[in-house]
Amino acid sequence: MGYDSTMSNTTEDSNQGIDKQHLASPIKNLVDKYQLVPEFLKVRGLVKQHLDSFNYFVRTEIKKIVRANQEIRSTLDPNIYLRYRDVHIGEPSMVFDAVTEKLCPQKCRLSDRTYAAPIYVTIDYTTGSHGQTSVSTKKNVIIGRMPIMLRSSCCVLYGKDEDELARLGECPLDPGGYFVIKGTEKVILIQEQLSKNRIIIDTDKKGSVQASVTSSTEKTKSKTIIKMEKEKVYLELNMFKTKVPIMVVMKAMGMESDQEVVQMIGRDPRFSALLLPSIEECADLKLYTQHQALEFLESDKMLKMPSYSTGPVEKGARALSILRDIFLANVPVHQHNFRKKCIYVAVMMRRMMEAILNKDAMDDKDYVGNKRLELSGQLLSLLFEDLFKTMNDEARRTIDTLLARPSRSSRLDISQYIVKDSITMGLERTLSTGNWDVKRFRMHRKGMTQVVARLSYIGSLGHMTKISPQFEKSRKVSGPRALQPSQFGMLCPCDTPEGEACGLVKNLALMTHVTTDEDERPIMSLCYCLGVEDLEQLSPEELHMPTSYLITLNGLILGKHKSPQRFANAMRRLRRAGKIGEFVSIFVNEKQRCVYIASDGGRVCRPLVIADKGVSRIKEHHMRELRDGVRDFDSFLKDGLIEYLDVNEENNTLIALYEKEATPETTHIEIEPFTILGVCAGLIPYPHHNQSPRNTYQCAMGKQAMGNIAYNQLNRMDGLLYLLVYPQRPLLTTRTIELVGYDKLGAGQNATVAVMSYSGYDIEDAIVMNKSSLDRGFGRCIVMKKYSAICQKYENGTSDRIIKPQRQGLEADKMQILDDDGMAAPGETIRNHDIYINKESPTVTRTPVTSPMGLPDSAYKSSRQTYKGPEGETAVVDRVALYSDRNNNLSIKFMIRHTRRPEIGDKFSSRHGQKGVCGTIVQQEDFPFSERGICPDLIMNPHGFPSRMTVGKMIELLGSKAGVSCGRFHYGSAFGEPSGHADTVDAISETLVTHGFSYNGKDFIYSGITGMPLQAYIFMGPIYYQKLKHMVLDKMHARGSGPRVMMTRQPTEGRSRNGGLRVGEMERDCLIAYGASMLIYERLMISSDPFEVQVCRKCGLLGYYNYKLKTGICSMCKNGENISTMKLPYACKLLFQELQSMNIVPRLKLAEA
């Protein structure tokens, strides 16, 4: 019970409670490893994956990109060049009127700017031309501005403590991990993808087995597929028009001997039998040598014509270069030595054939180990690379055109041409639209960024851990949606949306870490040192010897090893000793006889305690040191007590949940089981007692709950802000709640709930509320909405102006709330149709005017803005902010505040996916009461329980009740009972009994109406209730007569347009079935779009009414003899006319009714 929580007032009773639990725990007292979780989060933070990824990009990746594209050299004069020497990112700042101004995120949010820092480069470049060149160096040249992720190493918030953050106007609980682009906060969602550079065996649409590799190197990206079709093996590569027989490819790569190929695949006769048809096919094509094979590949029917012609090249050279650079691009070829690539192909074929012979060898695409998460850093680096290359190409082109020009006046200074806005604009545009259009990498992805959900604190946290799927959501597949066993501990099993994205959009679990790329060269040389036999030295025969395993590093075959287990153990020991990166994974795959070493980025992994023969390496003294502050999480890692395991390596482990359950085979022990849940699901008390969909529902609803969103919530200018007036901390907390800070920024209130039926206004999950509780502030909320206005400057020099309000006259009462400056004053009550800014715009904005600043009043037209809100409500102008935006226009933001108390129809929910609307509000004296005088705040119908099976909610009620009576917050962490992070029902019942309650949480209750006791004992106690953002006031809508659509003359649609409520087809069907013909007539015509038409009985067409002659006239017959007047829906008349316009004549035949 070492945990010392923030609660200071633990009473004696609570100590007693703890002692009881303490005594109840087994004698072999376990080391409480819980403290590691907060320590982990302290070191890593809640959104560390984003920050790590961005930091890696800023520190390493950007330098790599610049180094790879370091030279701009003129194609005309190779002496003229520019070389980038170094790149770094400065402090976030912006240039304003030629003055560099430092930026902080809050300033950017308020003034709609981008939080970006300059990208500085050091360049060597030549000046002059035509032989008279001289080289000079320039330092700190800005090539663009990089949007900066908040709290990353470039951010001003980096490493700041709470006070400093507060001074910068920032909430200390805000996790960062997002960008501020033009004043809006944008997250780059984590993208889920299939692993790159790995062999994946699966089936295509036709059901034939294929081995595919998506290669991705710094230079190229390609997809190689080797598939078995009609018993023959083919290669599919999009550089070739058709599929290519694999033996041709092998021969083209210099593997001329068929025997060698067979040997490389393995001498198993089954493999040879499978390969035989392919060998025969190659022989039928009469291709025997490398030269013949290359020529075959070069032929027009095989090779796609390149879009650009690079002049005559050697025969076969193009095919060879494709094989070298594009085919399996991840396997490097040194000096035309294709041997490695051949072996790689052979391994691919072998794995494919294994899968044909044994379906179990097929890879699972949904397996998390085969997935990589792409984070903001990687995505930004793609984008930056593309923009950087584009900028360089453009600079080169400009120089070439300049050089081509015969005469120039000034000396050619190449450094002038790289400073462009293209990088800044490109980054900003992509981040604000979320459309990644990188043509160079054939990447067109939409919706990569989203505006950070700021509805609730938990919502924004959950947004940072959201993983968006690789597939489009419309796919009707069940496989990727299902919960994968390999997700355990990495991805939250509860937090996924309902509906179309169900199971595809996932969320990270609490302790998940996503790796970044790590240099593989040291690992490679280390492998060779540890006895990996190099491929080069191996004969094909030796490759698949039954005594040895292949060693693979990031998908690249390094060689083989005779004793793989010993090798793996040695590697792991080195990792634990910190000699290689802690995120390197070593995975021995017995089935594939391979050892996979991975150091690439995007793998998900999580920390686990290492155990030797089932004995945890973490001992009590380690934890004591941690509590004393001598140790931190990293030192645990450094001392080899804890290690990170990725999904693949987890397959080589036996993980015990607790030390007491460990057996001698156990290799690892979990830190705490509640960390398998994510941030959103972590709020649920006793989630392991609930039916699982209920937890999923709560994950969705927790994001809609009102509360406090941040410490700086009142200084922010969010478009829509929902705040609770008196938010509380849940009486029944979980460890996750404390870790993420939900106890500081709560979104709900502890309501005393009686589970009983009352008044009949509680059917279908409706709840009955106590009016006095509402009077005292329960469920009271503040809704703030932003209205903005811009004082635009126009191209002819004129600009909008804000003028003094009229104090007399017609409009005066609509301008009551305006100050003399023409803007609404803070604190004023604003009503529907009130003007909040008295703005005028010039009538002429394009053509030049003589004196733009001194226009007469007549040259302005009013463009005042009026407030539209619910009638009869009193909203208040909360704040008015003036600032100049990016274009140096005066911008004004108004925050309009509205305080609301709950009313009938407002939506509430507990933390167990049990939502309900307020059905009725009842006076306190009518509410039931107990003889202690306890009167519930809320009554919930017991029918909510049987079908929902939310036992967790009942335990929450019990636990909270015990909590209020003994003065100690109770815990309900997921699966926390064995480790003491969740109070057991037994302990809770005991506490209840000591405080004079029944052990089962039921109370004896009197009716408030009659004063007689109720027939049953009532389950009553506090439950944390959330008020959800859906409120009646924003939704209720009714209309009598009102606006109509111009074209059809039918009532408009939708609440915002004060539209009518449609009698739809099904409603119409009901009325027909019932026979209410007059009602149909009234609804569909009289109340909708009645129209009087003149119909010619003779020709059946519509005529018109001549008001002079006062008769109807048929325009077809040119007379008014056979005209009848009748009523028609206007839409019907419109249909007739539209039909006529397309040469169809609708004729009405009238008969006497």
């Binding site: 305080t899 006076q923 306190q924 005088g933 004063g1011």
Partner: protein, 353 residues
């Protein structure tokens, strides 16, 4: 019907009275009267509470509505309330409710000038009428800590922030808004009648007795205090001839274990919460009827706690007064049966029912 009288004479016995707490017995009446009294105390005894706030300056972190709401909930001493007028029926002012007969004016002018956070409390509210002031809790005997009582906190100010406002308090009842409710807790319970069947109880062992006694979550039963010393030791092993007492477990272990006799007695019948735990326990022990509990249908034990707006004793008196007024209204309506026929349901509304 005519002439039949159901008149009763309920009796009140006061057990405990403090300023904001009172416990009394109400006897010889039924639940309707008891509940009527409770309901009136909660919802219809008038008090004075801040109802209108005019904010001059508010640079605090809380917005105007927030502060107004908090001010409204501050209890004000309302001894005057019964004699005051509702501002809606006030003749002295034309319904604006700002005259001395129906309202009390308050001022709050606070500015924080120091670096320390300044707590604005109910003590900063300056009343225009010395009889209507924010309730002062400092003189209650229960103040065990020696920290200076500062009243109810309204808002905290930091340096430079200011709050300046004028508030009007009016008379009202809890039915309209909970801020006018003088009652913090008003509750009653039926007085339980507990019979212990002595003969059956005798047949229980001491363990069983203690089990029975402890089965109640509240301390209703106890073991006879006369034999407390002995029963505390619970069991004494000794010679039957030398040890006095009644052998209870003699049948099972003759001559070895001797236990002192002890009586199960009712310590505090009112602690019983009608939880049936003892009855269930008795049944589980195979001795149903060893304890019998009934609720006395005609006597109630009331617990009244007030917010401090009126004294608890005064609250009860006021409640009875209000109840009398309401009964008068009913009596008066008896004369106007014709009006009832004429207006139907509306008649009841016209009389303010």
């Amino acid at each position: 019907m005519e002439g039949v009288s159901y008149q009763r004479f309920p009796k009140i016995k006061i057990r405990e009275v403090k300023d904001d707490f009172m416990k009394f017995e109400l006897r010889e009446t039924d639940a309707s009267i008891a509940n009527a009294l409770r309901r009136i105390m909660i919802a219809e005894v008038p008090t004075i509470a801040i109802d209108l706030v005019e904010i001059e300056v508010n640079s605090s972190v809380l917005n105007d509505e927030f502060i107004s709401h908090r001010l409204g909930l501050v209890p004000l001493t309302s001894e005057r309330a019964m004699s005051m007028r509702f501002s809606r029926d006030c003749d002295a002012c034309d319904g604006d409710g700002q005259c001395e007969y129906c309202s009390v004016e308050f001022y709050l002018r606070v500015k924080c000038l120091s670096d320390q956070t300044l707590d604005v409390t109910s003590k900063d509210l300056l009343s225009s009428d010395h009889t209507v002031v924010p309730v002062d809790y400092s003189d209650t005997s229960s103040s065990f800590d020696n920290t200076p009582n500062k009243g109810i906190i309204i808002v905290k100010l930091r340096r430079g922030q200011e709050l300046r406002l004028r508030a009007i308090a009016r008379k009202g009842i809890g039915k309209d808004h909970a801020k006018w409710s003088p009652a913090a807790t008003v509750t009653f319970m039926y007085e339980p009648e507990i019979y212990i069947n002595e003969d059956m109880m005798e047949s229980l062992t001491l363990e069983e007795k203690t089990e029975l006694v402890e089965s109640s979550p509240t301390k209703v039963f106890g073991i006879d205090p006369e034999n407390k010393q002995e029963t505390g030791k619970c069991m004494i092993v000794g010679n039957p001839s030398t040890s006095p007492g009644i052998p209870l477990c003699g049948s099972r272990w003759p001559n070895t274990i001797w236990v002192y006799a002890s009586m199960v007695i009712v310590v505090d019948p009112e602690a019983y919460t009608y939880d049936d735990e003892v009855l269930k326990k008795a049944e589980a022990m195979g001795k149903p009827g060893v304890v019998e509990i009934h609720a006395k249908e005609d006597s109630f034990i009331f617990t009244v706690e007030t917010t401090g707006a009126v004294k608890a004793s005064q609250l009860v008196l006021n409640a009875i007064e209000v109840l009398k007024q309401k009964l008068d209204a009913v009596r008066l309506s008896d004369d106007t049966v014709e009006a009832d026929d004429q207006f139907g349901e509306l008649g009841a509304h016209m009389r303010g029912g």
